[in-house]
Subunit: 603 residues, 2 copies
């Protein structure tokens, strides 16, 4: 089996890749997914065309049928000319990380190593090359226009807008996203574009309360069995179903080498928790962790191109006693490591005391910081407790420090939270953290959903997404039980895309509703293929339909297996609509649609 | 294959059936499911026992290991002595339904027929035998004490209450449910016990805003393939996973006979939409529907023991033009049928004009009425529109008429509703319908979730459940695409139980939280088997765990496959807790738990 066969590629059914040029930067080619729809057959025999629906595409080049996958070459480096043009970076003389240098010298790793590894990674000429820095200077970058185009999803070309008023709960979502709006949101610290200068392969995306709600998928190696191609495939697979960013939480022996392959082949931002690798380096002994080892890990990963780091710097020594009355203590792995270190050394967390240096490193590579919630509650009992809220306040402090370094920041949030306590999380985050993008895990609204925790999480995610959370970290159905497999990742990502979309609809995001409108019109007109293609998971929708009605001709039929051909509400709808039309002056727009209701087997 | 092998039976893993006696009625034996937990192993080598968690059981006798399934005999008729004792019913001289009589005369059906069919069904001696009638007279029935005991889930025997304050949003949930409270809620029309006098096999359950949130599962035959045993199994299977009621929406040739088998073997209330069968009787021609045929169908089904009828009487002729501007028209099958009839005849709906007679029939058998929302929106576009709200007002009128006949009523609700428009549905229902129990389908918070619509629905269901909806009608992942199969039913029921439970937690239901508490304590103490047993779907939880760690010994281990043995936050938690303990005067309760955090592969 060739490596390229390992990576899933090709368009989703019913979609084709299109590229939208920029205006400020005409050379931009923003990849989108165009879902072409079939015609409506009218009562009188005529046909009316239906405008295609365009959605942004996290799949990168992999979903372009013209793209030749080459794992060893990596993805095209689309951002390279942009970064070159800014002329604010230089190529390092040598690798900045001692660890990276030592790995390179190990001949035994040669077979694992990505071949085209850069020995001279980019670094800022001066102190800061972040998108936030440029935004604060009033400068619109290529990345900013790119995400503006992407967020609009070609809404301006849609013939009908079909807007629906939402309840934005304080969010300020414009009807059209301009590059200037992107710039202003980044400058205010309300949005981030995670985009390390050493990850030029990345297609820029934006995370912020006033943009489409995003989804992160976690991947992690299962130490023994995974090959490198399999690891890359996990990331590609997650983006195929809509993951906006991917966190690589691997903990094995070859994470350095594997990470290189993943970044070179990832069209979406890659996040990590550098603490995990630092702990590997000291053979799992928390006591032996130190700022020096951690710092070297940050540089190692920043030079590889990691786009955002989770940093558990908000968990301070003084917070630890607050967790002793908890039912499930500290459930964050990073949080537990740091609590262990602080206690063993009887010292303040080195992540907290060295936070300004962390910001300095982040600023030089434009690594965004995701301030980790090491004290997030691991059960309903511990939700919104003093430990959690004390840490959140500290995250707010750190956010203000990072702002001074023009470092892009998001704030991580819980966890296990019952529904009625979710809004308080958002309200406090906005207040304590100056509206920095909130990035939550779950929240799971109950503890007893084991085996269905993607759903327990999606319920909370929809609610907190509506409240204003900018990115939702997915939870899979294997949560609390085991490692997610391929199918769990797909199910988890699509479930969370659904939660994010529900939140966008509720907030009244101007581009979100068009797809629902098109879907329901297709449903009413029995355009089955269009329904599959408009679904979040077109393959599964078609597969479910075909389980009972596999023949191709059934995709043209005006019924489905739920009620069958002879017991379908379409006949009733048709007859009363026609009768009313012939009897009275019904507004013609009311009867323009082609008469049939979708089958429903309910009541 | 013997018939009894077709019906799934036996306890869920880790559960045993117990029976709790009554106090007012000592002969009551309320079946519950007791989940026995293993001991906590303390640091010092001692053990602490964990109290069992008791939950109510929708599985009826099937989940009692001592019960011998006998499809042909039907379930034990536990309510028969209660009904006899009230001495308010009589045995009919002959069957009241002409249709039933004609079916009995068809020799070709003999092979299909339930053998012990009653030729003399019960009927009220006077006009009314409803629970609501007794409640209004200040009388507590056996059914009322039964549901009070069931709702309490033996919370009074729990050593620790572990209550968590919720936000009931206007619900008035007492800390302990007394039979008198049940009576008063039914008298006020705020709760119902669907319990036809001809369904003595039923284990009573209550539906109301101030009780645990319930879940209904729809089943329907797939006309060609299903055998009768398979149809019964569908209902039993749904109750195994937690369906509180089952609606039989079959439309085939033998629905009369099949229904008899289902009711005789169902431990939960059975609901139907009599209009479907009435339409069958006129060979699918809506024009030929008439009050007489419909009335005979009501009596036919009431005599069989159907516990609640969905009646689409709120869709009035004047409402139909309001639907013409809709994107997806009328998607309710019952609604579309009645709209067709009204239009074809240019007459007011016979369900509306004959509603008092419907109430009179319902009162004589204690059939509860579920006032159908024939105008529920079928897409986000149509949510909360004038058609929907006009019908809801009419449902409120009808509810007041039913109250005069002491008929138990619930109100059906939507549908497709974006998150931000959900609360208005509940608020208006409470107002227009005098707090009658709300029974909603979905609501689906987006139109584009095809293939995942159990989740689209569960998101809305949790929210509307928190708002006060009393029963959630499940949606399966096959919604909009095809007929649900066995696995879809299980997935759908458990997903909706999760939504209902999340709503109960958010409302602060006093018995809901105990299970989450026990689950999280088990999780923190690595009691893996207890975690499986406390999950809503114990079998799936165990299966997922065993996929990566199949050995029995791993169920005793203090780690899981997510982080593995050597990279688990438990060590860190242990070390900092011990260190803090030795260093300072930490309250001992803070350290009583045995030190380890559950693995988490997140950040």
């Amino acid at each position: 089996m060739k490596i390229k066969d390992v990576l899933t590629h090709g368009p989703l059914i019913g979609s084709e890749k299109i590229y939208v040029p920029g205006q400020l930067f005409p050379e931009l080619r923003v990849g989108m997914r165009r879902i072409t729809l079939s015609d409506t057959y009218n009562e009188d025999g005529s046909r009316t065309s239906n405008a295609p629906v365009v959605v942004y595409d996290t799949g990168g080049p992999y979903t372009d049928s013209a793209y030749q996958v080459d794992l060893e070459a990596g993805l095209p480096r689309l951002r390279e000319p942009w970064i070159d043009r800014r002329d604010d970076t230089t190529r390092s003389e040598e690798l900045g990380s001692e660890y990276t240098r030592s790995r390179l010298q190990q001949r035994a790793l040669d077979g694992l190593r990505y071949r085209h590894i850069s020995l001279h990674p980019r670094v800022a000429k001066e102190q800061c090359v972040t998108q936030r820095y440029y935004a604060s200077q009033g400068i619109i970058t290529e990345e900013m226009e790119y995400v503006a185009i992407r967020e609009n999803q070609l809404i301006d070309e849609a013939k009908e807008r079909h807007a629906m008023a939402g309840d934005p709960l304080g969010a300020e979502i414009p009807s059209y996203i301009t590059p200037e709006f992107v710039r202003s949101e980044i400058a205010r610290g309300r949005a981030i574009i995670p985009a390390n200068i050493n990850h030029p392969e990345l297609e820029p995306m934006i995370i912020g309360r006033n943009f489409l709600c995003k989804v992160n998928a976690n991947i992690g190696n299962s130490a023994i069995t995974s090959s490198i191609a399999e690891e890359v495939e996990k990331a590609v697979w997650a983006t195929r179903w809509g993951a906006d960013t991917v966190m690589d939480l691997s903990t094995g022996r070859h994470i350095h080498e594997t990470r290189e392959w993943i970044i070179r082949n990832s069209p979406v931002p890659i996040g990590t928790v550098p603490l995990y690798q630092a702990l590997e380096k000291v053979h799992g002994k928390t006591y032996d962790l130190s700022w020096e080892i951690y710092r070297d890990t940050l540089i190692e990963q920043a030079e590889q191109g990691v786009d955002y780091f989770t940093i558990h710097a908000g968990l301070r020594k003084e917070h630890i006693p607050l967790t002793l009355k908890r039912l499930t203590g500290i459930v964050s792995r990073g949080g537990a490591i740091m609590a262990g270190w602080c206690t063993e050394h009887d010292e303040e967390s080195f992540l907290y005391t060295h936070f300004e240096e962390i910001c300095q490193i982040a600023a030089r590579y434009d690594v965004s910081l995701s301030l980790g919630d090491g004290l997030r509650p691991g059960c309903i009992h511990d939700a919104n407790d003093t430990a959690q809220m004390a840490e959140l306040k500290t995250l707010g402090e750190l956010n203000r420090i990072a702002a001074r370094y023009h470092v892009q920041v998001m704030i991580e949030g819980p966890g296990h939270i019952p529904m009625h306590l979710i809004p308080e999380n958002m309200t406090r985050e906005l207040l304590d953290c100056d509206e920095a993008p909130f990035y939550t895990l779950g929240p799971l609204v109950s503890d007893i959903g084991a085996g269905y925790d993607h759903i327990t999480g999606a319920i909370g995610a929809s609610i907190i997404g509506h409240q204003g959370t900018a990115m939702l970290c997915y939870v899979t159905q294997k949560e609390h039980l085991g490692l997610p497999e391929r199918n769990d990742v797909r199910e988890g990502v699509v479930t969370y895309k659904l939660a994010a979309h529900a939140a966008d609809l509720a907030k009244g995001h101007p581009t979100a509703y068009l797809r629902d409108y098109a879907m329901s019109k297709a449903r009413f007109e029995f355009r089955w293929r269009d329904q599959f293609h408009l679904a979040l998971d077109p393959e599964r929708a078609q597969e479910f339909h075909d389980e009972t009605l596999p023949d191709e001709e059934h995709k043209e039929k005006h019924f489905c297996s739920m009620c069958g051909e002879h017991f379908c509400s379409m006949r009733a709808n048709r007859s009363f609509r026609q009768a009313l039309q012939s009897r009275s002056a019904v507004p013609s727009e009311g009867l323009a649609l082609s008469t049939e209701a979708p089958c429903s087997h309910h009541r």
